[in-house]
């Protein structure tokens, strides 16, 4: 009797679960980009706010290079922005599920990501750098073979570290880059390997650490967009071109990088031309 009850309830649970999953699979979320009314079109933009100076949160307000840029583009193209924040690893899955339309988070354009989402033209040329404590004794990424390296989960920095022959168990991947920095400061890791602008920003604001090496990786950031929405993609590219043309784009570099121009992408660089082979 008892057994029958158990199996019965298990069966019920199974049926419920499959029903739920099937429901998820077929429920089509109404994508904003499919509505075309005369008023401003609303797009749902997601960002990961643990990526200064591209995006961070100050006094409850999301801000940063990416946020200003997407707002400027939206203004040019008559779009309304509905901003939400989520963890970096959730951004591309959310685009796939069409629960958001656009993601800005300093996302490196990669071949593997291009299979899942579309990208705008490149808007920032990035690299990866190595950040250590000032009293550390190593000078380059090659000294990190048997050391503990902290970085952010599922980012291109992880791929770089693996390609440099650093074993997976020596790579500490955090959900949030701030935890990686705090791990470096509290002795939980010997170095942080991450996107150079973010590392530089951290080094500028904390005096016990410094960047020991920059590794040009030929990485470009793009705005990630839901697949198969050519009109939206075109609008973003047009807007991006417009702000590059009228100088707003250049102003962002003054505001967020103290005028450092190393990341500027002045030409229109199509994502498939600059995608990393990963």
């Amino acid at each position: 009797m008892r057994n029958k009850k158990i199996y019965g309830s298990l069966l019920l649970a199974g049926v419920l679960a499959t029903g739920l999953l099937a429901g998820c699979g077929t429920s089509s979320s109404k994508s904003a980009s499919s509505q075309n009314n005369d008023s401003a079109q609303t797009i749902r933009v997601a960002a990961d706010t643990t990526f200064p100076p591209f995006e961070s949160e100050k006094d409850g307000k999301v801000q940063g290079f990416d946020i200003d840029m997407i707002n400027a583009i939206a203004k040019k193209e008559n779009l309304n922005i509905q901003l939400s924040t989520m963890q970096f690893t959730g951004l591309i899955p959310a685009l796939q599920a069409q629960s958001i339309d656009v993601a800005v988070a300093g996302i490196t354009i990669k071949k593997s990501r291009l299979n899942a989402v579309d990208f705008s033209n490149a808007y920032y040329k990035s690299g990866i750098s190595v950040l250590t404590k000032k009293n550390a004794s190593f000078s380059s990424v090659d000294d990190l073979k048997n050391k503990l390296v902290a970085t952010k989960k599922g980012t291109s920095s992880v791929d770089l570290l693996k390609s440099k022959g650093i074993p997976a168990q020596n790579i500490k991947q955090f959900d949030n880059i701030n935890d990686a920095y705090s791990s470096l400061v509290s002795g939980g890791a010997d170095a942080v390997v991450f996107d150079s602008p973010v590392n530089q920003d951290y080094a500028n604001t904390h005096n016990d650490v410094h960047v020991i090496q920059s590794i040009p990786t030929g990485e470009y950031y793009g705005i990630a967009v839901v697949k198969n929405h050519p009109d939206l993609l075109k609008k973003l590219n047009d807007g991006l071109k417009a702000i590059k043309d009228d100088g707003e784009y250049a102003k962002l570099f003054d505001k967020y990088f103290g005028g450092d121009q190393s990341g500027v992408v002045q030409d229109e660089l199509a994502p498939d031309k600059v995608a990393l082979d990963e």
Binding site: R2, I6, P93, Q173, S183
Partner: protein, 225 residues
């Protein structure tokens, strides 16, 4: 068929993560039982100071989210105490994870054990004292055996909860099952398949445990037939 390939391909890596999940579950259950037993006995002791300490422990660990406790122990404490230097940066995160989980489980187990002991009829301990048993003997031979039987269902529940709780180790960079899955999804973006596979793996483990508990219960309930 393509989805199936992804799942099969990811399985070996996920099973490694599952191994970690099981390890941490076992450590947390074992330590949690020890913490819980000590703390429950403190809770029922004659000394007010012991009762107070145990009460505070239970309230703090039941009154805050486990994820906050874990993050505090793993990322918060090392910023003021050089724990990474004492234990080594490779070892400390593991210790933080195990201790954090165990302390949390211990708080819940304290309450389960306390309730179990209190549920044994007072007449039982009176009878034990009247035939000349000491407090300790009465506890050991009369009360605990009866209390233990009643504790099994909630304890098993708590063990299953512990296994599920280990998924909260992913945010503190412990490479358990969920973390392993997140890494795989970051590469292939097959969230539906991989996360679904993870859920199934958890289900298999927890179902096994609850079945075993059912068997144990039936074995111990012989007198109840």
């Amino acid at each position: 068929m393509h989805a199936w390939n992804i799942m099969v391909h990811a399985l070996p890596q996920l099973l490694q993560g599952l191994g970690r999940t099981v390890e941490f579950s076992l450590i947390a259950i074992l330590l949690g039982m020890i913490f819980g037993l000590i703390s429950a006995l403190c809770r029922l002791s004659r000394f007010q100071i012991l009762r107070g300490i145990s009460w505070l422990y239970v309230e703090v660990f039941r009154g805050t989210p486990l994820l906050v406790q874990l993050i505090f122990i793993a990322f918060g404490l090392p910023t003021v105490i050089p724990l990474n230097d004492w234990f080594g940066p490779r070892v400390y995160p593991l210790i933080a994870a195990a201790i954090g989980l165990a302390l949390n489980e211990g708080a819940y187990i304290t309450e389960i054990i306390r309730a179990g002991i209190l549920s044994v009829d007072r007449g039982q301990s009176e009878a034990a004292h009247s035939i000349g048993m000491s407090r300790f003997q009465a506890m050991r031979y009369i009360i605990l055996p009866q209390a233990f039987k009643r504790m099994i269902p909630p304890l098993v529940n708590q063990f299953a909860q512990t296994i599920k709780d280990t998924s909260l180790l992913a945010p503190i960079a412990i490479v358990e099952l969920l973390y392993t899955g997140q890494i795989i999804v970051a590469e292939n973006f097959a969230g539906f398949q991989i996360y679904g596979e993870i859920a199934l793996l958890y289900l298999v483990i927890i179902f096994t445990i609850t079945r075993f508990a059912g068997y144990l219960e039936r074995r111990l309930q012989i007198d109840k037939r």
